[in-house]
């Protein structure tokens, strides 16, 4: 199924549009700055963050390496706890399974908590075609849904909306004016969504982690909407990417230390729910039925691929977005995909290899490596971006090939390239931090020249990154030719 949400515009057009929207740019920069600072504070406070990151990577790598075993164990334990498990090879199949459950329950309304995999399979569209209303209950997602838009950040979806715009949306929904005061806006959403929670026949969630040894689903939230979704409706559907597994309860402690800190700089989110099976027969609340849909949708293609398997280690924290100079300039919408930022620039092309337009996303990066440094499970996103570009150059002929001659020329000089990447990463790290320009000595080195000049560009506000990229390519060719 197609992952792009607005394909009528090219990546260039979308980024140009984003660059013109000054509120969006300010909001994105302010928010990412805030999240980044909070993350830094909370990981510094831990004192041994690197140890935790390394442990996080080890656990994720092990789980993915034996994913078939852990999924099997998980499914068996879910069934033992009274839940049902389904396996879906793609988005179409996943949506079909969910729809069948909803129809069997004669559902009119589904309350949803934030889940990117359901966006991947476009579940809202599928349900709504059948006359089943889907209500997003995360405050940010609710705002975005009322505005008929898509999320612009994976942790703070409505980054791009002003309080005035939100008040307008809520007022239209309410049929009378709602004030722009945060308290009033929140109170409106609380009251409105409470009705939806009580009416909905089905609650639908994603899954942050799934514990194989007990068949439990673990969900993190701050607002409490996920608790509502998993307490009130009679039927619960969990839709999860197949890579969400952790082997044991002990491993969950590591993930619970990594995820909230990386996402929002919190030691722990306000709620962490561990759900095992439906409610027991004598319990007073909780869902009577639990259906868990495990989705592949392009993920298994990465298994066994030494370059890309590690992308399945991702815990969807959004930390790489907050440090990415490109994301910080253009925001989430310009990526036009469910997953924005560095994770999206890698994951979207990988999940949709046959879609040429999506492959473009691998360009939406400066290869600075800040994403790798931020990633709580050490995914080498910048290396993957290079591989993706390489792959694209190989498979595409004509103009693209010429345009990417600069890259391919460099790829042929592996040693130079690796040295350069390493050096640049270090330099960019401090230059991103203090906002200073590139050190002049570096910019005098021959092959680095083109890179250094263009690497400054993501911070310039005059051009879209696509334009900057064209310049980068030209400079690269010159740089290589000069050698």
């Amino acid at each position: 199924m197609h992952m792009l949400l607005n394909t009528d515009q090219s990546l260039t057009q979308r980024s140009e549009h984003a660059l013109k929207d000054s509120f969006l740019r300010q909001a994105v920069q302010f928010t990412t700055e805030r999240l980044r600072e909070k993350k830094e504070e909370s990981t510094n406070a831990l004192g041994d963050w690197e140890l935790w990151r390394e442990r996080g990577r080890q656990i994720r790598a092990h789980t993915i390496q034996y994913l078939d075993y852990y999924l099997d164990q998980f499914a068996t334990n879910v069934e033992q706890a009274g839940g049902q498990v389904y396996f879906a090879k793609d988005g179409v199949e996943a949506a079909k399974i969910a729809l069948e459950i909803a129809k069997e329950k004669r559902a009119k309304k589904v309350v949803k908590s934030k889940s990117m995999v359901t966006e991947e399979v476009e579940i809202n569209t599928v349900f709504e075609k059948e006359g089943i209303a889907c209500v997003e209950t995360d405050l940010g997602e609710y705002i975005v849904q009322l505005a008929k838009q898509t999320p612009s950040h994976i942790i703070i979806p409505a980054i791009h909306q002003t309080r005035e715009q939100i008040a307008q949306l809520f007022s239209a929904e309410q049929g009378k004016a709602v004030s722009t005061d945060t308290k009033a806006l929140t109170a409106f959403a609380r009251q409105k969504l409470r009705e939806a929670f009580a009416q909905a026949e089905i609650g639908m969630t994603g899954c942050n982690f799934a514990i194989a040894e007990s068949g439990s689903v673990v969900l993190f939230s701050n607002e409490g909407n996920i608790r509502m979704v998993t307490t009130l409706p009679k039927t619960q559907i969990v839709m999860m990417g197949m890579e969400r597994m952790v082997p044991t309860w002990e491993d969950l402690e590591v993930m619970a230390n990594l995820l909230p800190r990386s996402a929002t700089g919190q030691k722990l989110t306000a709620y962490m729910s561990i759900l095992t099976g439906p409610k027991r027969s004598d319990e007073k609340d909780g869902p009577e039925e639990l259906h868990i849909i495990i989705v592949d949708n392009g993920r298994s293609k990465q298994l066994g691929d030494p370059k890309f398997q590690a992308i399945l280690h991702c815990i969807r924290c959004g930390a790489c977005l907050n440090v990415c100079p490109v994301y910080r300039q253009i925001g989430g919408h310009a990526y036009g995909s469910v997953y924005p930022g560095p994770i999206g620039a890698v994951l979207s092309p990988l999940l949709n290899p046959e879609d040429e337009q999506v492959q473009e996303l691998a360009d939406a990066s400066s290869l600075c490596g800040a994403c790798y440094d931020a990633c709580p499970v050490q995914i080498p996103l910048h290396d993957m971006l290079v591989y993706l570009r390489e792959r694209r150059v190989k498979t595409q002929g004509g103009i693209e090939k010429v345009a990417f001659r600069g890259y391919s020329a460099i790829f042929r000089h592996q040693a130079t390239f690796q040295w350069m990447m390493k050096t640049l990463r270090h330099v960019q790290k401090w230059s991103v931090k203090d906002g200073s320009r590139w050190s002049s000595f570096l910019s005098r080195l021959p092959i680095v020249q083109g890179w250094v000049r263009s690497r400054r560009l993501p911070y310039s506000t005059q051009r879209s990154f696509r334009e900057q990229w064209k310049m980068l390519q030209k400079e690269l060719e010159e740089g290589v030719d000069n050698q």
């Binding site: 302010f30 928010t31 805030r34 041994d48 140890l51 935790w52 442990r55 080890q58 092990h62 994913l67 078939d68 075993y69 999924l71 499914a75 498990v85 396996f87 090879k89 940010g140 705002i143 002003t162 309080r163 945060t182 308290k183 806006l185 929140t186 409470r194 929670f197 040894e213 007990s214 607002e223 409490g224 608790r227 998993t230 307490t231 044991t248 309860w249 002990e250 491993d251 969950l252 402690e253 590591v254 619970a256 722990l268 306000a270 709620y271 962490m272 729910s273 561990i274 759900l275 095992t276 099976g277 409610k279 027991r280 319990e283 007073k284 609340d285 909780g286 298994s300 298994l303 066994g304």
Partner: protein, 218 residues
């Protein structure tokens, strides 16, 4: 797709036959230094717990005796003047809570008989199963007497904690659930419900309680 075919495909992608026995692991769970971290004294755990919970905006009150705790709960309810109260049926200190709640009997909501009133209750009273000092977290397990909604629907959640229930780290609590069949829902609650979704402006009490009162018997 059926399960066998799905899993077989994954094994094939990974370039090996399907695995039947648990794979060997070198590293399980948190780094070693963390696993051995325990605050040895109860008073330290209480102090850390209270400090962390307060940082996150919980109202924490400590009491030396059962009698004082009872008076504290009574005073809190008097100040909140709830029109409707939800409570767990079973509590670790039922006599104590009951004796306080006797005065509020007419305000207690039966969630089965009146679900819509339960959804809009003013106050929910629970005990806890565990608490975590490191993060100021309450851990609540569901069962037939301890329903999920009591700590979720009301605007005020009052949680009664015994100092003996406070562990140092989350890992100690998670270890309690290994092996056996875990409860259908375990909720880790850290501070009141919150959101920063509107212009990064923090607002408290979005879908869950806006105020979390923690009464600790030390």
């Amino acid at each position: 797709m059926n399960r066998e075919a799905f899993l077989l495909h994954l094994a094939k992608q990974l370039g090996r036959p399907e695995i039947r026995n648990p794979p060997k692991r070198e590293q399980i769970g948190a780094p070693d230094h963390w696993k051995s971290f325990v605050l040895p004294r109860k008073s330290e755990r209480v102090d850390r717990f209270c400090q962390e919970a307060r940082t996150l905006g919980a109202e924490v009150h400590c009491f030396e005796t059962q009698q004082q705790l009872q008076e504290g709960l009574q005073a809190l309810l008097t100040s909140l003047k709830p029109q409707s109260i939800l409570r767990w049926d079973h509590t670790e200190c039922p006599a104590m809570i009951d004796s306080v709640l006797n005065r509020w009997k007419s305000r207690i909501v039966d969630p089965i008989a009146d679900p819509s009133q339960a959804l809009h209750a003013d106050v929910g009273i629970t005990t806890v199963d565990f608490a975590i000092a490191d993060t100021g977290t309450l851990v609540l397990c569901s069962d037939e007497q301890k329903s999920r909604g009591v700590s979720l629907f009301p605007a005020h959640h009052i949680a009664i904690v015994d100092a003996d229930q406070i562990r140092t780290r989350m890992g100690e609590v998670l270890a309690e659930f290994r092996g056996g069949k875990p409860p259908s829902a375990i909720h880790f609650i850290t501070g009141p419900s919150r959101s920063s979704d509107i212009e990064n402006d923090l607002s408290i009490g979005v879908h869950g309680p806006a105020v979390l009162h923690i009464l600790v018997k030390v």
